[in-house]
Symmetry: C2
Subunit: 334 residues, 2 copies
């Protein structure tokens, strides 16, 4: 086999089978991985959560992860946010002709390691190869399936006035790491993506605080965008304590230099959790005791004023409306 | 809104929401389509079938369909081939900046119409936008979920010597249609893709012939590749009656001119069905009475000789081994 991906490996014949054996099956094999075109999986009666996302991050390798790790985290976290235990994952690759097999293998290795940490099995996949210049490197699309906890119900539409808003760690790392990895700004700073699988932390939180209303991962558009989505979906206002939002000094430094707001920078391992006040302490304690969410902090609360908006209270006590996110901050962030 | 896709529409903020409302929700909306990052769906206890595929066909519009229709058919058919009733679909789009919104809408309209025909609901989606030259047009990845019939079991590994091999219509149309649509060969011929959703036909076949062993859709690599996969997976031989393989005259003509073998040309609406001899007539009758499979024909049988190989019996009674498929016949066929 050559050391780069060939068009023949995307044709569905012998070379495709060899590529699957050598790279995909080698790292992702498990008893549920199908040899047919679809996996058959036993499920108990109940509710499943299903999510899909395409990952086209550029560069595909960045401090703290790569597109393989990201493609597992992003989808597993979306499933877990619906109070579900992620179980199964599918992955679909579109690869550029000539892509180094060694890089593809590193991506698949990261997927395997992250899937193992998240407790999900890859059950089905697909590999397509596009000609040079028809796709930029490797695009990965994952779909996750999880079992929703009995009785649990979380949604962006369930936030209620009085609820406490928690973020599970310092914000904007992923966006900042990608931005620096592109080398377009000539800024040197040591920022690592927060990309991480959060299903275990969410499970522990729901054990401790079963009436959590909303869990969302603050990916594209960052925490600011997620808060606006919750405000719209739930028809509530959000009051944010600007100083309480955790930002790493190095991220704050980069944002200061470039005039960026960390609240709009993507995270890939941070949650916004909206919880009734009486369970807020329990949720916070559970998050702080879990991996990847040790830095959880209360950053605000839900109000019945200024519905559909996010108000930011500043250090000197004034209130300003956080501008509604829009436009393209940074393409191909995830 | 501009009349082309912008990078901002892939950023996850306001413009993304507008694009989703205007194009995706408008055509695909249904009670199960999530407003969160994952859909929550009720399932009975049992087995689900899950399949994923990326669709990068070039050109995206071709006689008989477009990438939207194709992305529903391909995945729904893969799910149905496992004896499952397809229920849910997710779709993930990667779109090139500057792509005409009118074309995107035609693609989504085709998805909606095909999903309706196939009886599946689109429950979750994702939209990413890559810069000009970073993706060629529109790539769509779909994942399908279906409920496996109680007691039913079909797989490429279950073919047994003595089984009858059926193909559900004339072969090679899709590959031939794409080839002609590319205008690279200067050949004029009126060939329409066979792209079609086959879940209803499969359901009717399983009603009539509940012990069907294998159902596979002959996509990338065509019927020849599927027969080799079955031969390998089941550890059997396949004996093919070359003259019995239905080929439309216009496809045969194009193949003759270009020196191509129709058995290796992709179909997107043709099944290979392997059925015990005692149920073969019932399966054939059910297929002939169903939409998109009216042209079903017996093309061979499974043997315990030449395991792992496909033998072709020719008109004059000689046998030759069908060469094992490999190499790239035509990139971006699906």
């Amino acid at each position: 086999m050559k050391d780069v991906v060939t068009l023949a490996q995307g044709a569905g014949g012998k070379q495709t089978s060899e590529l699957i054996e050598r790279i995909f099956k080698r790292h992702l094999d498990n008893p549920d991985l199908t040899a047919d075109d679809a996996a058959v999986l036993a499920v108990p009666a109940g509710r499943i959560a299903v999510s899909t996302d395409g990952f086209i991050v550029s560069p595909a390798f960045f401090p703290g992860g790569n597109v393989g790790k990201l493609s597992v985290c992003g989808t597993v976290n979306d499933v877990a946010c619906m109070s579900a235990t992620p179980l199964y994952l599918t992955c679909s690759f579109v690869i550029e002709e000539g892509y180094p097999l060694a890089d593809l293998e590193r991506i698949v290795e990261a997927m395997a390691a992250t899937a193992a940490e998240a407790g999900v099995r890859v059950v089905a996949g697909d590999t397509k190869v596009a000609g040079r210049g028809q796709v930029d490197g490797v695009f990965v699309t994952t779909t996750g399936i999880g079992l929703v906890r009995e009785g649990a119900s979380t949604s962006g539409a369930l936030a209620r006035p009085g609820d406490v808003v928690i973020v599970t760690g310092d914000v904007g790392r992923h966006g900042c790491a990608i931005l620096l990895a592109r080398d377009e700004f000539g800024i040197e700073a040591d920022v690592t993506s927060d990309c991480a699988p959060l299903a275990a932390a969410i499970g522990a939180t729901l054990d401790a605080a079963p009436h959590v209303h909303t869990i969302r991962d603050a990916t594209r558009g960052g925490v600011g965008t997620v808060l606006y989505e919750i405000a719209h979906q739930s028809g509530v206002g959000v009051e944010l304590d600007a100083e309480a939002v955790p930002v790493a000094p190095e991220v704050a430094g980069v944002c200061g230099m470039l005039g960026l707001e960390p609240l709009y920078l993507a995270c890939e391992g941070r949650l916004v959790v909206v919880v009734p006040e009486e369970e807020a302490d329990a949720a916070l304690a559970a998050l702080r005791a879990s991996s990847h969410t040790e830095g959880a902090a209360v950053i605000g609360h839900i109000t019945d004023e200024e519905r559909g908006r996010v108000l930011m209270r500043t250090q000197i006590g004034t209130q300003t409306i956080l501008p509604e996110p829009g436009n393209e901050l940074l393409p191909r962030i995830c």
